[in-house]
Amino acid sequence: MRWLLLKDLLILRRSPLVLALLVAYPLALGALIGFALSGDEGKPRVAFVNEVPSGQALELGGGEEFGADRARAELCARVECVDADSRGQAEEMVREGEVLGALILPRDLVARLRSLTGLDPEPARVEVLVNEDDPVKAQLVDDRIQALVGEANLALAQRISAQAGEYIELLIDGGTFEVPLVGTEVPILGLGRAARLLERVQQELPAQSPVRDSLERVIEFARMAGENIDFALPLLGAIAEPIAVEKVTVAGAGTALDAFAIAIAAAVTLMFVSVLLVAGSLALEREENTYARLARVVAPGALLAGKLALGLVASLGVTLLLLVALTPFVSVAWERLPLILAALAVGGVAVAAFGAAIGSLAREVRAASLLAFMSALPIAFLSLIPSGVVGPTLFDMARVVRALFPFDPALDAIAAALDPSGGGIAAPLAHLLALALAYSALARLALRRFA
């Protein structure tokens, strides 16, 4: 096996194009993913146009205001803001792809917000521009801005609700009310003080006074209103946020996004490099007619072991190079190196066994490469379909198919190795070992059948 592996590595070294690809591919992929993950914390660029006249803001009470500045601050906390002077400029930026989308605050935004507390309310509107040439980008900016508007609505509703609560308390306890815009303070008696005032008036009335009963009914109303109107306070709070979200993770390992992205990159690299290399190398033995000669002096098991070793060496080399290339951009958990090596090694062997099965079926390198590519690509895609996106039956079928190929468990193993919260590594490693054995047996059978 040692001589076969050395021979394959020597042939690989003498193939400058393949060797250059094996080095350049992980470096380029690592740099691309690194830039994608680290570039401005992954925020999309969104143009911001403010048409609201300077100084206009909706007073929320308690000294708080909601206006263009606050909207911009909220937006820029979620996306990378690019200020545009006009709607036309923003539209041009979206069309040219400089920004993912644009948010326009219209001139009447604050006036409409103010109208919400008046007798003739008009809902406020903001305008969102997206480029529908790319539906994925359009959906992304839609989601971001919808979430932003939803949060703004919630903040406004909570603030208005709190303000209403303060008014109710003023109504109950009395005090002073500052009239918005005018700035004049108006004294408010309050239901409690009104009841007490009326009680004193009642006591001073003659016992036979005909208004005494009427006054008693007014006092009773003021007392009951004062005691019960504060029930409205929690109700107002509930209206402001009728549905609160409480997130509970019931399945999935909760792997960090960075670690998962790295795991996907490593698993895809593993899949393509190892499968293509091993399938191509085994098919090359047939294409160059060396298989028949080798079969006279080497047992099929030893030949397969040599190819699996080639897959293992290439997988480890290329994926470690990928992780090294990613290190300047994102945090790779190098302190977990033993687990990373275990995941890459076992994953590499399983994927190599899959490649050997393909290579043993094909008689030519081109056929083997095509077969390897055409099987690896859909398997990788299938493994990345999240639950809930397709129907339950289709998803269950996809899970069964995914379990038959090494990409899915390799992804799980690498994710677990890279991130402590990425779930257990033992089960995917065992799965990979089982697949490695199964595909090796299949490859051996195919070699015996088709040699």
Binding site: I11, R14, T290, A292, V297
Partner: protein, 243 residues
Amino acid sequence: MQTSEPEPGIGPAIEVRGLSYSFGARRALHGVSFEARAGELVAVIGPNGAGKTTLLSLLAGRRKPDVGTVRVRAGAVGWVPQELALYRRLTVAENLLLFARLEGLDDPRAAVADLLERAGLAERRNEPVATLSGGYRQRVNIAIGLLRKPAVLLLDEPSTGLDPRQRARLWEFVRDLAGGGTTVLFTTHHLGEAERYGERLLVLADGELVFNGSAAALHAEAGAPDGGDFEAAFVSFLRERGH
């Protein structure tokens, strides 16, 4: 196992008895028997599909016969496949060294150095196979079959794809091998080569051995004058026997 190794120095170098082999329902060889002495050059000829390559595969041990025995005098059987079986990106020496190691030779480097000299490849030892001419490639191909210093060398159409000058050099090399005591069995479609270099001819047709003798004897069997057109005599011989 159908192959055994009798005591050295006794009997022919290779002895084949009642060899039969089928691919499923199709009979490829049926009751083939012959023997060859040490240093003899034996040409195996016949129409396409006659069973020539199958016979060499059975003699090489690549396939197990359904019936029959192959007895080889002490020593290995070297097999050189019909098509070049070399790693084109490796050099001549690297190809030989790889197979020497896989064959488990005691001193692979010494064996390769010796073979490079004997095969006239010493000057080309560091050249990648991909850059060699067809004649040299075939020489490397044959050299690998000689690594274990076999008593019997099986060459499956060794001159295919070579120009006349390369063919002449190849046969010179093969003759030297036979002169050194190696029994050489070769298949060929070039009847002229079989007539010129084969000390004995085995004619296969539809899986049966229909002739075993010299070229002159085949002429006689075909009723053609010795030294006449060998190809015409061969065709006439087969036609008379219904092939």
